[in-house]
Protein backbone atom coordinates (compact mmCIF):
# COMPACT_ATOMS: atom_id res chain seq x y z
CA UNK A 1 0.00 0.00 0.00
CA UNK A 2 1.45 3.29 -1.07
CA UNK A 3 -0.59 5.36 1.34
CA UNK A 4 1.66 7.22 3.66
CA UNK A 5 -0.78 8.39 6.32
CA UNK A 6 -3.67 6.05 6.99
CA UNK A 7 -6.39 6.90 9.47
CA UNK A 8 -8.85 4.12 10.17
CA UNK A 9 -12.08 4.76 12.06
CA UNK A 10 -10.44 7.32 14.29
CA UNK A 11 -12.40 8.51 17.31
CA UNK A 12 -11.27 11.08 19.81
CA UNK A 13 -13.17 11.49 23.07
CA UNK A 14 -12.40 14.09 25.68
CA UNK A 15 -13.60 13.68 29.21
CA UNK A 16 -14.62 17.09 30.47
CA UNK A 17 -16.08 17.37 33.97
CA UNK A 18 -17.63 13.93 33.93
CA UNK A 19 -19.08 14.48 30.50
CA UNK A 20 -17.77 12.64 27.46
CA UNK A 21 -17.32 14.84 24.44
CA UNK A 22 -16.69 13.01 21.22
CA UNK A 23 -14.71 15.44 19.08
CA UNK A 24 -14.00 13.02 16.24
CA UNK A 25 -16.29 10.15 15.29
CA UNK A 26 -15.09 7.25 13.15
CA UNK A 27 -13.19 9.21 10.56
CA UNK A 28 -11.11 7.37 7.97
CA UNK A 29 -8.83 8.88 5.40
CA UNK A 30 -5.60 8.12 3.65
CA UNK A 31 -2.97 10.38 2.20
CA UNK A 32 -0.38 9.29 -0.32
CA UNK A 33 3.28 10.18 -0.06
CA UNK A 34 3.99 13.73 -1.25
CA UNK A 35 0.29 14.35 -1.60
CA UNK A 36 -1.46 17.36 -0.13
CA UNK A 37 -4.71 16.60 1.64
CA UNK A 38 -7.16 19.14 3.00
CA UNK A 39 -9.61 18.98 5.90
CA UNK A 40 -12.43 21.52 5.69
CA UNK A 41 -15.17 22.26 8.15
CA UNK A 42 -16.51 24.86 10.51
CA UNK A 43 -15.32 25.37 14.05
CA UNK A 44 -16.09 22.36 16.21
CA UNK A 45 -16.08 19.98 13.28
CA UNK A 46 -13.07 18.15 14.70
CA UNK A 47 -10.72 18.92 11.87
CA UNK A 48 -7.94 20.29 14.06
CA UNK A 49 -8.47 17.49 16.57
CA UNK A 50 -7.44 14.96 13.92
CA UNK A 51 -4.11 16.73 13.52
CA UNK A 52 -3.64 16.88 17.26
CA UNK A 53 -4.47 13.19 17.57
CA UNK A 54 -1.83 12.32 15.00
CA UNK A 55 0.88 14.09 16.93
CA UNK A 56 -0.26 12.93 20.34
CA UNK A 57 -1.75 16.17 21.65
CA UNK A 58 -5.21 14.56 21.74
CA UNK A 59 -6.00 11.01 22.86
CA UNK A 60 -6.88 8.32 20.31
CA UNK A 61 -9.89 6.59 21.85
CA UNK A 62 -10.83 4.40 18.92
CA UNK A 63 -9.46 3.26 15.60
CA UNK A 64 -5.87 3.64 14.58
CA UNK A 65 -3.43 5.81 12.73
CA UNK A 66 -0.61 4.36 10.64
CA UNK A 67 2.28 6.32 9.24
CA UNK A 68 4.18 4.52 6.48
CA UNK A 69 2.55 1.31 7.65
CA UNK A 70 3.63 1.71 11.29
CA UNK A 71 0.81 1.92 13.77
CA UNK A 72 1.09 4.82 16.18
CA UNK A 73 1.28 3.65 19.77
CA UNK A 74 0.31 5.53 22.93
CA UNK A 75 3.93 6.53 23.37
CA UNK A 76 5.16 7.75 20.01
CA UNK A 77 8.15 5.93 18.54
CA UNK A 78 11.47 7.72 18.69
CA UNK A 79 11.57 8.51 15.01
CA UNK A 80 8.06 9.98 15.06
CA UNK A 81 9.16 13.54 15.70
CA UNK A 82 11.66 13.44 12.85
CA UNK A 83 8.88 12.27 10.60
CA UNK A 84 5.87 14.43 11.53
CA UNK A 85 5.88 18.09 12.50
CA UNK A 86 3.14 20.65 12.88
CA UNK A 87 2.60 24.34 12.12
CA UNK A 88 0.05 26.02 14.37
CA UNK A 89 -2.66 28.50 13.57
CA UNK A 90 -1.67 31.48 15.61
CA UNK A 91 1.89 32.63 15.06
CA UNK A 92 1.53 34.94 18.06
CA UNK A 93 1.00 31.97 20.38
CA UNK A 94 3.24 29.33 18.87
CA UNK A 95 6.63 30.95 19.48
CA UNK A 96 8.06 31.19 22.99
CA UNK A 97 7.89 34.89 23.84
CA UNK A 98 11.12 34.84 25.84
CA UNK A 99 13.27 32.87 23.45
CA UNK A 100 15.13 34.43 20.54
CA UNK A 101 14.46 33.05 17.06
CA UNK A 102 17.89 31.41 17.32
CA UNK A 103 16.92 29.56 20.50
CA UNK A 104 13.57 28.50 19.03
CA UNK A 105 15.22 27.08 15.94
CA UNK A 106 18.19 25.44 17.62
CA UNK A 107 16.10 23.80 20.38
CA UNK A 108 15.11 20.76 18.25
CA UNK A 109 18.75 20.30 17.29
CA UNK A 110 19.79 20.41 20.93
CA UNK A 111 17.10 17.90 21.90
CA UNK A 112 18.29 15.41 19.32
CA UNK A 113 21.98 16.11 19.76
CA UNK A 114 22.45 17.31 16.20
CA UNK A 115 25.60 19.36 15.85
CA UNK A 116 26.52 22.22 13.54
CA UNK A 117 23.53 24.15 14.78
CA UNK A 118 24.83 27.61 13.77
CA UNK A 119 24.98 26.74 10.09
CA UNK A 120 21.70 24.89 10.21
CA UNK A 121 19.83 27.79 11.82
CA UNK A 122 21.18 30.25 9.27
CA UNK A 123 20.23 27.91 6.44
CA UNK A 124 16.74 27.38 7.87
CA UNK A 125 16.15 31.14 8.01
CA UNK A 126 17.34 31.47 4.43
CA UNK A 127 15.05 28.63 3.42
CA UNK A 128 11.93 30.44 4.62
CA UNK A 129 13.03 33.74 3.18
CA UNK A 130 14.07 35.59 6.33
CA UNK A 131 17.30 37.59 6.50
CA UNK A 132 19.90 36.19 8.88
CA UNK A 133 19.85 39.48 10.81
CA UNK A 134 16.57 38.21 12.31
CA UNK A 135 18.36 35.41 14.05
CA UNK A 136 18.70 36.99 17.47
CA UNK A 137 15.44 38.88 17.53
CA UNK A 138 12.58 38.09 19.84
CA UNK A 139 9.14 37.14 18.47
CA UNK A 140 7.61 40.44 19.53
CA UNK A 141 9.98 42.22 17.16
CA UNK A 142 8.52 40.30 14.19
CA UNK A 143 5.31 40.71 12.21
CA UNK A 144 2.72 37.95 12.01
CA UNK A 145 3.91 36.72 8.64
CA UNK A 146 7.53 36.68 9.76
CA UNK A 147 6.60 34.72 12.87
CA UNK A 148 4.74 32.16 10.82
CA UNK A 149 7.85 31.79 8.66
CA UNK A 150 9.86 31.11 11.79
CA UNK A 151 7.27 28.53 12.89
CA UNK A 152 7.57 26.83 9.52
CA UNK A 153 11.36 26.90 9.75
CA UNK A 154 11.14 25.32 13.20
CA UNK A 155 8.89 22.55 11.91
CA UNK A 156 11.42 21.81 9.18
CA UNK A 157 14.51 21.76 11.45
CA UNK A 158 14.25 18.00 11.97
CA UNK A 159 13.65 17.41 8.26
CA UNK A 160 10.27 15.71 8.61
CA UNK A 161 8.41 13.99 5.79
CA UNK A 162 4.96 15.09 6.91
CA UNK A 163 3.85 18.59 7.78
CA UNK A 164 0.55 19.03 9.62
CA UNK A 165 -0.77 22.52 8.91
CA UNK A 166 -3.44 23.79 11.28
CA UNK A 167 -4.95 26.88 9.61
CA UNK A 168 -1.48 28.26 8.98
CA UNK A 169 -2.68 31.49 7.36
CA UNK A 170 -6.01 32.29 8.97
CA UNK A 171 -4.45 34.78 11.37
CA UNK A 172 -2.62 36.61 8.60
CA UNK A 173 -3.48 39.42 6.22
CA UNK A 174 -4.41 38.52 2.66
CA UNK A 175 -1.15 39.61 1.10
CA UNK A 176 0.88 37.86 3.79
CA UNK A 177 -1.28 34.78 3.39
CA UNK A 178 -0.32 34.68 -0.30
CA UNK A 179 3.37 34.83 0.59
CA UNK A 180 3.10 32.07 3.19
CA UNK A 181 1.08 29.81 0.89
CA UNK A 182 3.66 30.30 -1.86
CA UNK A 183 6.40 29.50 0.62
CA UNK A 184 4.67 26.32 1.72
CA UNK A 185 4.20 25.17 -1.86
CA UNK A 186 7.84 25.86 -2.68
CA UNK A 187 9.04 23.99 0.41
CA UNK A 188 6.81 21.06 -0.46
CA UNK A 189 8.45 20.77 -3.85
CA UNK A 190 11.96 21.23 -2.52
CA UNK A 191 11.72 18.89 0.45
CA UNK A 192 9.25 16.38 -0.97
CA UNK A 193 6.81 16.95 1.89
CA UNK A 194 3.40 15.44 2.50
CA UNK A 195 0.86 18.01 3.68
CA UNK A 196 -2.19 17.42 5.82
CA UNK A 197 -3.82 20.81 6.01
CA UNK A 198 -6.77 22.13 7.97
CA UNK A 199 -8.62 25.27 6.96
CA UNK A 200 -12.05 26.81 6.98
CA UNK A 201 -11.29 28.70 3.79
CA UNK A 202 -12.25 26.63 0.77
CA UNK A 203 -10.23 28.84 -1.55
CA UNK A 204 -7.03 28.27 0.44
CA UNK A 205 -7.65 24.54 0.56
CA UNK A 206 -8.41 24.49 -3.14
CA UNK A 207 -5.19 26.30 -3.88
CA UNK A 208 -3.09 23.96 -1.77
CA UNK A 209 -4.65 20.50 -1.79
CA UNK A 210 -5.35 17.70 -4.22
CA UNK A 211 -8.06 16.00 -2.23
CA UNK A 212 -10.41 17.36 0.40
CA UNK A 213 -12.43 15.87 3.22
CA UNK A 214 -15.42 17.88 4.38
CA UNK A 215 -16.19 17.44 8.07
CA UNK A 216 -19.13 18.36 10.29
CA UNK A 217 -19.78 17.71 13.99
CA UNK A 218 -16.74 15.42 14.25
CA UNK A 219 -17.73 13.17 11.40
CA UNK A 220 -16.62 12.93 7.78
CA UNK A 221 -19.25 14.22 5.37
CA UNK A 222 -17.77 13.87 1.95
CA UNK A 223 -14.45 13.45 0.21
CA UNK A 224 -13.90 15.57 -2.84
CA UNK A 225 -11.24 15.74 -5.51
CA UNK A 226 -10.08 19.20 -6.44
CA UNK A 227 -11.91 19.13 -9.75
CA UNK A 228 -15.18 18.34 -7.97
CA UNK A 229 -14.84 21.46 -5.91
CA UNK A 230 -14.26 23.82 -8.78
CA UNK A 231 -17.19 22.39 -10.72
CA UNK A 232 -19.41 22.37 -7.61
CA UNK A 233 -19.86 18.64 -7.98
CA UNK A 234 -20.87 17.70 -4.41
CA UNK A 235 -23.13 14.93 -3.29
CA UNK A 236 -24.13 16.10 0.16
CA UNK A 237 -26.15 19.13 1.13
CA UNK A 238 -23.74 20.22 3.79
CA UNK A 239 -20.79 20.35 1.43
CA UNK A 240 -22.93 22.30 -0.99
CA UNK A 241 -23.97 24.84 1.64
CA UNK A 242 -20.36 25.29 2.69
CA UNK A 243 -19.49 25.85 -0.93
CA UNK A 244 -22.33 28.31 -1.41
CA UNK A 245 -21.16 30.34 1.56
CA UNK A 246 -17.76 30.62 -0.09
CA UNK A 247 -19.19 31.55 -3.47
CA UNK A 248 -17.49 34.92 -3.35
CA UNK A 249 -14.20 33.08 -3.35
CA UNK A 250 -14.81 31.63 -6.78
CA UNK A 251 -12.53 32.47 -9.62
CA UNK A 252 -13.86 35.67 -11.04
CA UNK A 253 -12.42 37.16 -14.14
CA UNK A 254 -12.21 40.88 -13.59
CA UNK A 255 -11.53 42.62 -16.91
CA UNK A 256 -8.00 43.55 -15.88
CA UNK A 257 -6.96 40.05 -14.98
CA UNK A 258 -7.77 38.18 -18.16
CA UNK A 259 -4.29 37.42 -19.22
Amino acid sequence: MSDFIEIDNLSVTFAAKGRQVQAVKNVSLSVGAKESFGLVGESGSGKSTILRAICGLAPISGGEIRIAGEKLTEKRAKNFVTRVQMVFQDPYASLHPRHTIDRTLSEPLAIHGIGNSDARVVRALEDVGLPSSFRFRYPHQLSGGQRQRVAIARALMLEPEILLLDEPTSALDASVQAEVLNLLNRLRDEHGLTFLMVSHDLAVIDHMCDRILVMQHGGAVEELARADLASANMKTDYARSLFAASANRMLETPPKETA
Binding site: S43, G44, A174, S175, L202, H207, N248, R249, E252, P254
Partner: protein, 277 residues
Protein backbone atom coordinates in the same frame (compact mmCIF):
# COMPACT_ATOMS: atom_id res chain seq x y z
CA UNK B 1 -28.56 64.68 4.57
CA UNK B 2 -25.25 63.73 5.98
CA UNK B 3 -25.20 61.77 9.19
CA UNK B 4 -21.52 61.86 9.86
CA UNK B 5 -18.86 64.10 8.40
CA UNK B 6 -15.19 63.72 9.06
CA UNK B 7 -12.49 65.93 7.70
CA UNK B 8 -8.78 65.36 8.11
CA UNK B 9 -8.93 62.99 11.06
CA UNK B 10 -5.55 62.28 12.62
CA UNK B 11 -4.81 59.91 15.48
CA UNK B 12 -1.39 60.03 17.08
CA UNK B 13 0.10 57.71 19.69
CA UNK B 14 2.99 58.84 21.86
CA UNK B 15 5.53 56.02 22.19
CA UNK B 16 9.04 55.65 23.55
CA UNK B 17 10.45 56.26 20.10
CA UNK B 18 8.38 59.37 19.46
CA UNK B 19 4.89 60.01 18.14
CA UNK B 20 3.37 57.47 15.75
CA UNK B 21 0.53 58.52 13.48
CA UNK B 22 -1.94 55.68 13.12
CA UNK B 23 -4.48 57.66 11.15
CA UNK B 24 -3.06 60.38 8.92
CA UNK B 25 -5.72 62.64 7.50
CA UNK B 26 -8.87 60.67 6.80
CA UNK B 27 -11.95 62.43 5.42
CA UNK B 28 -15.29 60.95 4.55
CA UNK B 29 -18.99 61.59 4.81
CA UNK B 30 -21.72 59.14 5.59
CA UNK B 31 -25.44 59.24 4.99
CA UNK B 32 -27.96 56.58 5.93
CA UNK B 33 -26.02 54.03 3.94
CA UNK B 34 -23.61 51.16 4.34
CA UNK B 35 -20.00 52.23 4.17
CA UNK B 36 -17.20 49.67 4.18
CA UNK B 37 -13.68 50.40 5.40
CA UNK B 38 -11.14 47.84 4.22
CA UNK B 39 -7.47 47.46 4.92
CA UNK B 40 -4.86 45.14 6.32
CA UNK B 41 -3.83 45.07 9.95
CA UNK B 42 -2.16 48.31 10.90
CA UNK B 43 -3.94 50.31 8.23
CA UNK B 44 -5.77 52.37 10.85
CA UNK B 45 -9.26 51.16 10.00
CA UNK B 46 -10.16 50.08 13.54
CA UNK B 47 -8.74 53.25 15.04
CA UNK B 48 -10.76 55.32 12.58
CA UNK B 49 -13.90 53.51 13.74
CA UNK B 50 -13.05 54.00 17.40
CA UNK B 51 -12.24 57.68 16.93
CA UNK B 52 -15.81 58.36 15.87
CA UNK B 53 -16.90 57.22 19.34
CA UNK B 54 -13.85 58.94 20.83
CA UNK B 55 -12.79 55.62 22.30
CA UNK B 56 -9.04 56.21 22.04
CA UNK B 57 -7.19 56.11 25.31
CA UNK B 58 -4.15 58.20 26.11
CA UNK B 59 -1.32 58.13 24.99
CA UNK B 60 -3.48 58.25 21.86
CA UNK B 61 -4.71 61.65 20.68
CA UNK B 62 -7.53 62.43 18.24
CA UNK B 63 -7.40 65.53 16.08
CA UNK B 64 -9.71 66.52 13.24
CA UNK B 65 -10.58 69.65 11.31
CA UNK B 66 -14.23 68.63 11.45
CA UNK B 67 -15.99 65.68 12.99
CA UNK B 68 -19.73 66.24 13.06
CA UNK B 69 -22.40 63.70 13.84
CA UNK B 70 -25.92 64.85 13.07
CA UNK B 71 -25.09 68.46 13.87
CA UNK B 72 -23.11 67.62 17.02
CA UNK B 73 -19.44 68.52 16.93
CA UNK B 74 -17.66 65.44 18.24
CA UNK B 75 -14.30 67.19 18.57
CA UNK B 76 -15.58 69.60 21.20
CA UNK B 77 -18.29 67.49 22.83
CA UNK B 78 -17.74 66.93 26.53
CA UNK B 79 -17.15 63.45 27.90
CA UNK B 80 -20.64 63.58 29.37
CA UNK B 81 -22.17 64.40 26.02
CA UNK B 82 -20.19 61.58 24.44
CA UNK B 83 -21.53 59.13 27.02
CA UNK B 84 -25.04 60.21 26.16
CA UNK B 85 -24.31 59.63 22.48
CA UNK B 86 -22.65 56.24 22.83
CA UNK B 87 -25.33 53.62 22.88
CA UNK B 88 -28.53 55.48 22.10
CA UNK B 89 -27.21 57.15 18.96
CA UNK B 90 -23.78 55.70 18.18
CA UNK B 91 -23.24 51.98 18.66
CA UNK B 92 -20.31 49.65 18.04
CA UNK B 93 -20.07 45.90 17.57
CA UNK B 94 -16.61 44.44 18.15
CA UNK B 95 -14.83 41.51 16.65
CA UNK B 96 -15.08 38.85 19.30
CA UNK B 97 -18.30 38.42 21.29
CA UNK B 98 -16.30 36.44 23.86
CA UNK B 99 -14.64 39.62 25.08
CA UNK B 100 -17.57 41.97 24.65
CA UNK B 101 -20.14 40.22 26.83
CA UNK B 102 -19.79 40.27 30.58
CA UNK B 103 -19.03 36.63 31.50
CA UNK B 104 -20.66 36.77 34.94
CA UNK B 105 -24.01 38.18 33.91
CA UNK B 106 -26.81 36.29 32.19
CA UNK B 107 -27.48 37.39 28.62
CA UNK B 108 -30.96 38.59 29.49
CA UNK B 109 -29.74 40.77 32.35
CA UNK B 110 -27.16 42.37 30.07
CA UNK B 111 -29.74 43.06 27.42
CA UNK B 112 -32.18 44.57 29.90
CA UNK B 113 -29.65 46.62 31.84
CA UNK B 114 -29.80 49.62 29.53
CA UNK B 115 -33.57 49.51 29.29
CA UNK B 116 -33.99 49.39 33.05
CA UNK B 117 -31.43 52.02 33.91
CA UNK B 118 -31.41 54.40 31.00
CA UNK B 119 -34.98 54.21 29.76
CA UNK B 120 -36.46 53.49 33.21
CA UNK B 121 -38.75 50.80 31.87
CA UNK B 122 -40.46 48.24 34.08
CA UNK B 123 -39.01 44.75 34.23
CA UNK B 124 -41.79 43.14 32.22
CA UNK B 125 -41.61 45.70 29.48
CA UNK B 126 -37.81 45.61 29.34
CA UNK B 127 -37.96 41.87 29.07
CA UNK B 128 -40.44 42.07 26.23
CA UNK B 129 -38.22 44.53 24.38
CA UNK B 130 -35.10 42.40 24.91
CA UNK B 131 -36.86 39.33 23.57
CA UNK B 132 -38.07 41.30 20.57
CA UNK B 133 -34.48 42.39 19.93
CA UNK B 134 -33.31 38.78 20.04
CA UNK B 135 -36.02 37.83 17.62
CA UNK B 136 -34.94 40.63 15.32
CA UNK B 137 -31.51 38.99 15.01
CA UNK B 138 -33.22 35.68 14.25
CA UNK B 139 -32.52 33.83 17.45
CA UNK B 140 -34.96 30.99 17.47
CA UNK B 141 -35.68 30.50 21.17
CA UNK B 142 -35.06 33.91 22.74
CA UNK B 143 -36.52 32.78 26.11
CA UNK B 144 -33.73 30.23 26.53
CA UNK B 145 -31.02 32.62 25.35
CA UNK B 146 -32.19 35.23 27.87
CA UNK B 147 -31.40 32.80 30.67
CA UNK B 148 -28.08 31.62 29.21
CA UNK B 149 -24.61 32.60 30.35
CA UNK B 150 -22.33 34.10 27.68
CA UNK B 151 -20.03 31.03 27.70
CA UNK B 152 -22.96 28.81 26.76
CA UNK B 153 -23.42 30.62 23.45
CA UNK B 154 -21.63 29.71 20.24
CA UNK B 155 -19.66 32.39 18.43
CA UNK B 156 -22.42 33.17 15.97
CA UNK B 157 -25.02 33.28 18.72
CA UNK B 158 -22.84 35.57 20.85
CA UNK B 159 -22.34 37.95 17.97
CA UNK B 160 -26.10 38.05 17.33
CA UNK B 161 -26.68 38.86 20.99
CA UNK B 162 -24.12 41.67 20.72
CA UNK B 163 -25.86 43.07 17.68
CA UNK B 164 -29.24 42.78 19.42
CA UNK B 165 -27.86 44.61 22.45
CA UNK B 166 -26.48 47.40 20.30
CA UNK B 167 -29.73 47.75 18.40
CA UNK B 168 -32.11 47.96 21.38
CA UNK B 169 -31.71 51.74 21.78
CA UNK B 170 -32.14 52.08 17.99
CA UNK B 171 -28.96 53.99 17.22
CA UNK B 172 -28.58 56.15 14.15
CA UNK B 173 -25.13 54.88 13.35
CA UNK B 174 -23.71 51.41 13.90
CA UNK B 175 -19.99 50.80 13.64
CA UNK B 176 -19.23 47.13 13.13
CA UNK B 177 -15.55 46.28 13.56
CA UNK B 178 -14.90 42.91 11.95
CA UNK B 179 -18.17 41.58 13.36
CA UNK B 180 -17.89 38.29 11.52
CA UNK B 181 -14.17 37.47 11.39
CA UNK B 182 -14.41 35.12 14.35
CA UNK B 183 -17.31 33.24 12.79
CA UNK B 184 -17.64 30.35 10.36
CA UNK B 185 -18.43 31.17 6.76
CA UNK B 186 -22.03 29.94 6.84
CA UNK B 187 -22.73 31.81 10.09
CA UNK B 188 -20.93 34.82 8.70
CA UNK B 189 -23.41 35.01 5.83
CA UNK B 190 -26.35 34.86 8.23
CA UNK B 191 -25.02 37.57 10.51
CA UNK B 192 -24.30 39.80 7.55
CA UNK B 193 -27.81 39.28 6.21
CA UNK B 194 -29.23 40.26 9.62
CA UNK B 195 -27.15 43.43 9.73
CA UNK B 196 -28.09 44.23 6.19
CA UNK B 197 -31.80 43.84 6.90
CA UNK B 198 -31.70 45.97 10.02
CA UNK B 199 -29.93 48.77 8.24
CA UNK B 200 -32.47 48.73 5.46
CA UNK B 201 -35.50 48.56 7.70
CA UNK B 202 -34.45 51.11 10.27
CA UNK B 203 -32.58 53.45 7.99
CA UNK B 204 -29.41 53.38 10.09
CA UNK B 205 -25.99 54.35 8.90
CA UNK B 206 -23.49 51.49 9.01
CA UNK B 207 -19.73 51.62 9.01
CA UNK B 208 -18.51 48.13 8.34
CA UNK B 209 -14.83 47.61 9.07
CA UNK B 210 -13.20 44.49 7.69
CA UNK B 211 -10.06 43.06 6.14
CA UNK B 212 -12.16 41.01 3.72
CA UNK B 213 -12.55 42.98 0.51
CA UNK B 214 -14.99 40.57 -1.05
CA UNK B 215 -17.29 40.47 1.95
CA UNK B 216 -17.39 44.27 2.10
CA UNK B 217 -18.06 44.56 -1.60
CA UNK B 218 -20.99 42.20 -1.22
CA UNK B 219 -22.70 44.02 1.64
CA UNK B 220 -21.86 47.70 1.37
CA UNK B 221 -22.81 50.55 -0.90
CA UNK B 222 -19.47 52.27 -0.80
CA UNK B 223 -15.96 51.07 0.10
CA UNK B 224 -13.01 53.02 1.46
CA UNK B 225 -9.67 51.27 1.08
CA UNK B 226 -7.15 52.26 3.75
CA UNK B 227 -3.43 51.81 3.75
CA UNK B 228 -1.00 53.09 6.34
CA UNK B 229 -3.45 55.48 7.95
CA UNK B 230 -4.76 57.01 4.74
CA UNK B 231 -7.63 56.38 2.39
CA UNK B 232 -6.02 55.30 -0.85
CA UNK B 233 -9.18 54.68 -2.83
CA UNK B 234 -12.90 55.21 -2.59
CA UNK B 235 -15.17 53.02 -4.71
CA UNK B 236 -18.75 52.14 -5.25
CA UNK B 237 -18.97 48.54 -4.09
CA UNK B 238 -20.03 47.33 -7.51
CA UNK B 239 -16.89 48.76 -9.06
CA UNK B 240 -14.52 46.94 -6.78
CA UNK B 241 -13.30 44.70 -9.54
CA UNK B 242 -12.38 47.76 -11.55
CA UNK B 243 -10.25 49.19 -8.78
CA UNK B 244 -7.57 51.51 -10.07
CA UNK B 245 -5.23 51.75 -7.15
CA UNK B 246 -2.35 49.23 -7.22
CA UNK B 247 -2.90 48.44 -3.53
CA UNK B 248 -6.56 47.53 -4.00
CA UNK B 249 -5.67 45.52 -7.07
CA UNK B 250 -2.89 43.78 -5.19
CA UNK B 251 -5.26 42.92 -2.35
CA UNK B 252 -7.70 41.38 -4.79
CA UNK B 253 -5.14 39.46 -6.79
CA UNK B 254 -3.27 37.88 -3.90
CA UNK B 255 -6.32 35.91 -2.77
CA UNK B 256 -6.50 32.28 -3.84
CA UNK B 257 -9.63 31.44 -5.77
CA UNK B 258 -11.57 28.22 -6.03
CA UNK B 259 -10.71 26.71 -9.38
CA UNK B 260 -7.85 29.15 -9.85
CA UNK B 261 -4.47 28.11 -11.17
CA UNK B 262 -1.76 26.56 -9.02
CA UNK B 263 0.76 29.17 -10.00
CA UNK B 264 2.34 31.00 -7.06
CA UNK B 265 -0.05 33.69 -5.89
CA UNK B 266 0.94 37.20 -6.88
CA UNK B 267 2.33 38.92 -3.83
CA UNK B 268 1.47 42.49 -2.96
CA UNK B 269 4.05 44.75 -4.50
CA UNK B 270 4.83 47.43 -1.93
CA UNK B 271 7.59 49.06 -3.92
CA UNK B 272 5.44 51.52 -5.87
CA UNK B 273 5.34 55.24 -5.12
CA UNK B 274 1.96 54.87 -3.48
CA UNK B 275 3.42 52.75 -0.67
CA UNK B 276 5.62 55.58 0.56
CA UNK B 277 3.01 58.23 1.12
Amino acid sequence: MSLLEIENLRVTFETETGPVQAVRGVSFGLGRERLGIVGESGSGKTITGRSVLRLIRPPGRIEADRMVFDGIDLTTASEKQMRALRGPRLAMVMQDPKYSLNPVMRVGAQLMEGLLRRDRLGRAEARKKAIAALEAVQIRDPERVMEAWPHELSGGMGQRVMIAMMLIPEPDLLIADEPTSALDVTVQAEVMAILDNLVRERGMGLIFISHDLRLVAQFCDRVLVMYHGRIVEELAAGDLMNARHPYTQGLLNCLPKIGGSREPLPGLDRTGDWANV
